[in-house]
């Protein structure tokens, strides 16, 4: 279908592809971590589309950070649970 602008998913895939050389030069373990970050950013494509930021990659970075922070919060909660059970 004719679109004037690429959809956010297309932009996301272009951005991901743009890092192909970067990814290639990483260690295999690091590559997997990088893939995880991109997967995290994918969770928020709807919000990124709605934001329609001129520099979409900033939104993607923020999405990665958001998922990371969610994970930190979850781990912190678990840690608190464990500690409280021990005491």
């Amino acid at each position: 279908m004719g679109r004037t602008l690429p959809s956010v998913t297309q932009v996301f895939m272009q951005e991901e592809a743009a890092f192909a050389r970067f990814r290639r030069a990483l260690r295999r373990t690091d590559q997997l971590a990088l893939d995880d970050l991109f997967t995290a950013a994918r969770q928020h494509l709807a919000a990124a589309q709605y934001a329609s930021h001129t520099l979409p990659f900033e939104t993607f970075l923020l999405s990665m950070l958001l998922e990371e922070h969610k994970e930190v919060m979850r781990l912190r909660q678990q840690m608190d649970d464990v500690l409280s059970r021990q005491s």
């Binding site: 279908m1 004037t4 602008l5 709807a46 589309q49 709605y50 329609s52 001129t54």
Partner: protein
């Protein structure tokens, strides 16, 4: 002495001098009348050119009446036009074509609007309208409607239907007989290809005796009617297919076009005069809404029934807009010259978006409510007066202050004006259906009507953004999506403020969950709050016992928006995007996948899934064994794919294209947009077309490939359930509960299966 007749308006079409009008009278008679009816086209442009056109028209052999008029163009305001009135409607087409080629620089209006729509607009009538006709001899003096297309229960016309169908698909073989049915009579008539006369005398006698209003056929457009017309002409029979014997049977050629990202094929058409012909296999959406739906389409769109049956809902909605425009004296541009207004890159970035589509939370969820805005897009067009000619300050409703989204000011635009009665009728029908008991005999009828209207409403949004649509404008289209996103976000905010968890959002619907909310009453407060915040009606689609949102096939952590399945509290199953919904899935695989879901649906709630899981697994095992042993009839393994381009244009031919090559070798032609049915087979070319005269050898069927497809479909539905059950069992075990005895069925992978398959000799299928 004038005579008054009441009855149903059956058909209208032009003849040599005026219009022929068919009316089914209350007395049961089929009346043919004639009516004088003058049609108009308009031309606008520089004055000297209009003057030249005037002179040119006066020299034409067609009688015309010329005048200068002021008329409204929705995009340009009032314009001064040359009005050309043609008293012989049948002469309009030729004259208009000549006019356009002689004066290509002028802007023309109303040139290509069908006579039937003009007639409908002029007298406010429609196909099968109850009307009161005042006649003098055979001349109609006056015609007035007694009902409107918006009546929920129109008085049904006493239609006489003759059904004629060949005993097999003419594409697959040569029919040997035709099956004729009328009322309670049904008989089979052999086709004797040497002595055709007997067939024709019988059909002729039937038509004469029953005098049907509607000839309902199978493959009538593509085979039966052309065959009958051709053979009767060759042999000099007079076959009264038309009730109006002064007219010839109308044939239209097949064509292929591109719509909504898909190639669509429309077959040849054969239309009758004074009678209708509908081909079940060439009627748009016949399987969705049947004859009731076709008649409803004709009533609300004012298209003649034979066209309404074959045309797309897009044409239907355009027709409705044309009628509104004709009645309001608004000009309908022949070719639209309206380009998109220039926008900055930032404007584009802000406005060039579709509806909001969320990424769902992957996995199995229990007690989930699906809530939907009711006819969201058309509803917003009507409520916020979104129309191409209505000026809008900006397209960002999120900047609207106040609790509600503000409607645009000013008089109602042509799109909302056209849609409002249709929308109201659909809402009234929906609420009527809700009040009827499940087994009420009227329910299917109302559902067919609601379904026909749904298609019209759905397409009207697309047509708003379609650059060739006469009343389309991209800014209006964008405004609709912007309002849609705003409404959905407001709904999300309302739900979150009330402590609901948002599992998914999709354009006009939300899936929400809150611990303890299990009955419709629990959601009433939420629905009221959303309606309060958005001003749009929202309804509960249903409460799922459980629903699974599936991840992408490529990455299991990435959710995909429209791939899910779930079971409502009443036990009905809803699936989207999985194999069973796809038209290119073999029926056997669809049947298995749906079978598994039906078994899972029997569980009283999500916790009960572990009890029905073994039964589902056993069913899969049984089906798989049948598949591997070649016990599945070949018809159930047929895959049907659409040919997307001409066979020669494929750089690497798809399975469908390879099947088409076989069909071509057998002398069949397949056009892009048509579906091809085939089996996957061993070796090259890997497929066997189904619609060729010789039956395929069951031993050549590529069973391992079918097994792979089968297992993939089973895994889609079983894997998430197994995961969730095992997680629950794991939790139970940790809590020290007894083993429930569920053993997991490991879905064999494609590789285990094909290797094990090779060791077994192929057994011929007992089913030819």
């Amino acid at each position: 002495m004038n005579e008054i007749i009441t009855g149903w308006l059956f058909d209208v079409y032009p003849n040599e001098t005026n219009l022929t009008i068919w009316v089914i009278g209350d007395d049961g008679q089929r009346h043919r009348f004639f009516q004088d009816f003058s049609v108009s086209v308009y031309a606008a442009g520089p004055f000297p050119r209009l003057r030249q056109l005037w002179k040119w028209l006066e020299e034409q052999p067609v009688q015309v009446f010329l005048s200068r008029k002021e008329r409204k163009d929705v995009f340009r305001g009032m314009v001064s036009v040359l009005a050309v009135d043609v008293p012989q409607p049948a002469r309009l087409d030729g004259l208009f074509r000549a006019m356009v080629s002689e004066f290509p620089d002028l802007t023309f209006y109303d040139g290509d609007i069908s006579i039937q729509l003009r007639y409908a607009a002029a007298f406010d009538v429609f196909p099968l309208a109850r009307c009161r006709v005042e006649v003098q001899g055979v001349k109609v003096i006056k015609i007035a409607p007694l009902d409107t297309p918006w009546d929920l229960e129109p008085e049904p016309a006493p239609l006489r239907i003759l059904s004629v169908e060949p005993d097999c698909d003419p594409a697959r073989g040569t029919p040997k007989a035709v099956i004729i049915a009328f009322g309670r009579n049904k008989y089979t008539l052999p086709i004797n290809h040497e002595k055709k006369a007997s067939l024709f005398w019988t059909v002729r006698a039937d038509i004469k005796r029953f005098d049907p209003d509607l000839i309902l056929t199978s493959w009538g457009d593509t085979w039966l009617m052309p065959y009958m017309v051709r053979t009767s002409q060759e042999n000099g029979f007079n076959l009264p297919l038309n009730r109006d014997e002064s007219q010839a049977v109308v044939e239209r050629k097949e064509h292929t076009y591109f719509s909504y990202g898909q190639i669509v094929y429309r077959g040849r058409q054969v239309q009758l005069r004074g009678r209708w012909h509908i081909d079940r296999h060439n009627a748009m959406l016949w399987n969705d809404y049947g004859l009731e739906g076709v008649l409803e389409m004709a009533r609300v769109t004012r298209q003649p029934v034979q066209d309404a049956a074959r045309l797309s809902p897009g044409t239907g909605i355009s027709s409705m807009q044309f009628v509104t425009a004709l009645q309001k004296g608004i000009l309908i541009p022949w070719h639209k010259h309206q380009a998109e207004t220039p926008k900055t890159a930032m404007d584009l970035l802000r406005s060039d978006m579709g509806g909001m589509v969320y990424q769902p939370t992957i996995g199995l969820h229990h007690d989930v409510a699906g809530i939907d805005f009711v006819s969201m897009y058309p509803g917003m067009m009507v409520k916020y007066n979104i129309s191409p000619e209505v000026p809008r300050a900006g397209n960002d409703p999120s900047t609207c202050s106040g609790q509600r989204l503000e409607p645009a000011d000013g008089e109602s635009g042509i799109v909302p004006m056209t849609l409002a009665p249709l929308l109201n009728k659909r809402l009234a029908l929906k609420s009527l259906i809700m009040t009827l008991p499940t087994l009420d005999c009227c329910r299917p009828t109302y559902q067919a009507l609601a379904s026909a209207e749904k298609w019209l409403l759905v397409t009207c949004f697309g047509y708003l953004g379609y650059k060739n649509a006469r009343f389309g404008r991209i800014e209006a289209h964008e405004a609709v999506t912007a309002y849609g996103r705003e409404a959905l976000l407001r709904a999300k905010e309302a739900a979150e403020d009330m402590d609901y968890e948002i599992l998914h959002m999709y354009v006009d619907g939300l899936w929400v969950h809150k611990e303890g909310c299990k009955t419709p009453a629990d959601y009433e407060a939420l629905l009221a709050e959303i309606t309060e915040r958005t001003g749009l009606p929202i309804s509960l689609d249903g409460i799922y016992k459980w629903v699974v949102f599936l991840p992408s096939r490529v990455n299991e952590r990435v959710p995909v928006p429209n791939r899910y399945f779930g079971v409502f509290q009443d036990g009905s199953v809803k699936v989207r995007g999985i194999e069973a919904r796809r038209r290119d899935t073999a029926p056997f695989i669809t049947e298995t996948q749906m079978g598994v879901l039906e078994i899972l649906a029997k569980a009283p709630d999500a916790d009960g899934l572990k009890d029905v899981l073994p039964k589902a697994q056993a069913f899969v095992g049984k089906q798989l064994t049948a598949l591997r042993k070649g016990q599945v009839p070949l018809e159930k393994l047929l895959v049907s794919q659409r040919l997307t381009r001409e066979v020669g244009e494929y750089s690497s031919p798809s399975p469908a294209a390879r099947a088409v090559k076989q069909l071509q070798a057998a002398g069949r032609t397949v056009r892009p947009g048509q579906r091809v049915r085939f089996l996957f087979t061993h070796g090259r070319p890997g497929v066997q077309a189904w619609d060729v005269p010789q039956s395929p050898d069951p031993r050549t069927v590529d069973l391992p490939r079918y097994c792979t497809l089968f297992l993939r479909a089973v895994e889609t539905v079983l894997a998430p359930i197994q995961q969730s059950v095992s997680a629950a069992l794991h939790l139970d075990a940790r809590l020290g509960q007894a083993d429930t005895g569920v053993r997991f069925f490991k879905t064999p992978t494609a590789c285990d299966l094909s290797s094990d398959y090779v060791q077994q000799p192929l057994r011929p299928s007992p089913f030819p």
